[in-house]
């Protein structure tokens, strides 16, 4: 089976007076219906890796393949199109647009893709938000919501164009335990109920152990690559 996302020898070096290597020689395949945790110490390059996998950033060396398609030769606009339709991104901070209602925020990627009319996009956005327990907040702007609610909106927005894979960078990093449980539950349901693939960076070992597979990053390199059986051996992040 073709991996949804595949990294082949991916290295990212930031140019500068002192060049910084963010990730180094990463080889990785992400398959359908996987629920993957990316763990590792602060500053080890987890976010950087996620940006590369999500085509937000381009590798200095190596290649990222989406559905088996090399992205090295893609134009900037083609990459944007792939991000829009094939990948959903959730950041640690919700990154919602403050001037738009949460429904509009979720509808934006649908309207950008242009497959749905603006009416249909709004309906679908409302459906998604309702399914995440936000029925009473559809017309509110992000600043009127709690952190956990905003993060649920962010997940809804990531799902807007029904991509097969969601990349989440510490989606629960700034949430209390109740909100964390809710958001994590939603992500897990995406995999188990909707057949999505979810890759989430997390510091929370309790969450990591509930996921199918853990990728441990240290100094920009993959440290371990183990199966669910070896959960117990995960180092504390």
């Amino acid at each position: 089976m073709t991996p949804l996302i595949e990294a082949r020898g991916v290295t990212k070096i930031l140019e500068g007076v002192v060049p910084v290597t963010l990730v180094k020689d990463i080889n990785l395949a992400i398959m359908q219906r996987e629920f993957i945790a990316i763990t590792g110490p602060s500053g080890s390059g987890k976010s950087s890796l996620l940006y590369l996998l999500g085509l937000l950033d381009l590798p200095t060396i190596g290649d990222v393949l989406i559905d088996g398609r090399s992205t090295n030769l893609m134009t900037e606009d083609e990459c944007a199109e792939v991000r829009l339709s094939r990948i959903g991104f959730v950041f640690q901070f919700h990154f919602l647009l403050p001037e738009f209602s949460i429904t509009e925020n979720v509808a934006l990627p649908m309207r950008a893709l242009g497959r749905l009319s603006s009416r249909a996009a709004t309906l679908r956005a409302e459906e998604l938000l309702i399914s995440f327990g936000l029925r009473d907040h559809l017309r509110k702007t992000p600043d009127q919501l709690s952190g956990g609610q905003r993060q649920r909106v962010a997940v809804a927005r990531a799902l807007a164009n029904d991509p097969p894979v969601i990349l989440a960078d510490e989606p629960t990093g700034s949430l209390d335990s109740l909100a964390t449980a809710q958001v994590f539950g939603i992500l897990r349901d995406l995999v188990t109920l909707r057949g999505k693939t979810v890759v989430a960076v997390t510091h929370d070992i309790n969450l990591a152990v509930q996921m199918h597979r853990r990728i441990h990053v240290v100094d920009g390199k993959l440290a371990q690559f183990e199966s669910p059986a070896s959960v117990a051996s995960i180092p504390q992040a």
């Binding site: 606009d77 792939v82 991000r83 950041f91 901070f93 647009l97 950008a112 960078d169």
Partner: protein, 411 residues
């Protein structure tokens, strides 16, 4: 498109004060541009209208188009003689009535024969050199506005006495002559006659009012001491703008020198062109300055919205969409400003037209203005274009932004 509009509208809606300032800039620019154009073109049209009204549109004189060839040059191919007296040519247009009749067949407009002469006018021991124009009152009416410029008497008053004259009002005042005064005219040919003042006129042109007298053709012919002479045919064309072309054809047909009003007033008309260049430069500068406001707001929004732009781009919005959002914002500011500027410009023009003002070319006491949709469209076009250009640069910077740089910084 609706998506771009939605986002653009949301951005400017949330910045009411800045947007208002930018729009006010465009309104002011467009408004003043419209007013300036209305004033400039209004006074220009007024000026040309006065000019066209006062002058014959075409004047055909008895000078030949080519100088008369002297007998020696006709006989010898190349010759240079000194001390020869040039062969005198009898002045006047030959067969003037036949020429007028033939021109009348194709020229849209009216023609009249006249005699241009000079004479010294004597009255109350004052001598003034004046231009004497011999006219035919019946056809003069169709060619000049003299009949409407009469202050005392009418053109037909010329038939009242055997030698009658109409004087410019300034001239009459200067010498103290009144209707029924008898003045003495001495022509360059030596003819002396007593003429009775039967009326005065005021054309509005100082020179004319100060130095011209109108008499009957016959009277002028006596002063010239040549029976039947006509040395000028004046033409009023139905469309003054066609005068130049018609004048050329008259010249070709008759062989006489024919000059349109455009040619005789070339200097004035080129001054008008210069004025227009000046006007459009100033109007352009006003609108350019107005576009700085647009630049300011778009550039502010793109700076404030750096994070939002990064978010949109990370979601998969392409550069073109981001660019369009901000260009549309600039366009909205320009368009709304221009449309409101129409009202402002109309109001200013209306206000300026109310001002009491003495123009040097006519007796009208109001500043002449011209309401023309052309000015409105032109100002809108320039305002929109400069807004779009002003918006383009910050928009392009925004569209090129690399989302990861912003997101890395924020997390």
């Amino acid at each position: 498109m609706t998506l771009i509009l939605t986002i653009a509208w949301t951005h400017i809606r949330h910045r009411t004060r800045q947007t208002m300032v930018a729009i006010a800039g465009v309104i002011t620019g467009v408004g003043f541009s419209i007013m300036m154009a209305a004033m400039m073109e209004g006074s220009q049209n007024d000026f040309i209208k006065t000019l066209v009204d006062a002058l014959p549109h075409i004047s055909v004189t008895d000078e030949l188009r080519e100088p008369t060839r002297q007998p020696a040059n006709i006989v010898y191919r190349a010759a240079e003689f000194h001390g020869l007296t040039p062969k005198a040519r009898r002045p006047g247009i030959k067969n003037p009535m036949a020429i007028i009749a033939s021109l009348q067949t194709w020229i849209p407009g009216a023609l009249t024969a006249s005699v241009q002469s000079k004479a010294v006018l004597r009255y109350a021991r004052r001598n003034l050199t004046i231009s004497i124009v011999g006219i035919d009152p019946r056809t003069e009416v169709g060619v000049s506005n003299l009949s409407t410029h009469m202050r005392q008497g009418t053109l037909s008053s010329l038939y009242r006495a055997s030698n009658a004259i109409l004087l410019g009002d300034r001239l009459a005042n200067k010498i103290g002559a009144r209707v029924n005064s008898n003045v003495t005219l001495v022509s360059a040919e030596g003819a002396v006659m007593t003429a009775r003042v039967v009326g005065t006129f005021h054309s509005g042109f100082r020179i004319t009012d100060e130095t011209t007298g109108y008499v009957l053709l016959k009277t002028a012919q006596i002063l010239e001491m040549q029976t039947g002479i006509v040395n000028e045919i004046r033409v009023r064309t139905s469309d003054p703008m066609n005068a130049r072309l018609i004048s050329e054809r008259i010249g070709e047909q008759t062989g006489y020198k024919s000059i349109s009003w455009q040619e005789s007033q070339e200097d004035l008309l080129s001054t008008i062109t210069l004025r227009n260049v000046l006007m459009y430069t100033i109007v352009g500068a006003i609108l350019l300055v107005a576009s700085f406001g647009t630049y300011n707001i778009i550039s502010t929004i793109t700076h404030e919205k750096t994070r939002d732009i990064a978010i949109l781009k990370s979601l998969g919005f392409n550069n073109k969409t981001i660019l369009s959002i901000f260009i549309v914002e600039a366009g909205l500011v320009g368009l709304v400003g221009a449309l409101l500027g129409w009202g402002f410009g109309y109001f200013l023009t209306w206000g300026v037209a109310l001002l009491e003002f003495k123009t040097p070319f006519s007796d009208d006491t109001h500043l002449p203005v011209l309401y023309s949709i052309k000015h409105y469209l032109l100002a809108t076009g320039v305002a929109l274009a400069s807004s779009l250009i002003a918006g383009y640069f910050p928009a392009r910077t925004a569209a090129r932004l690399h989302p990861v740089d912003i997101i890395r910084g924020a997390t």
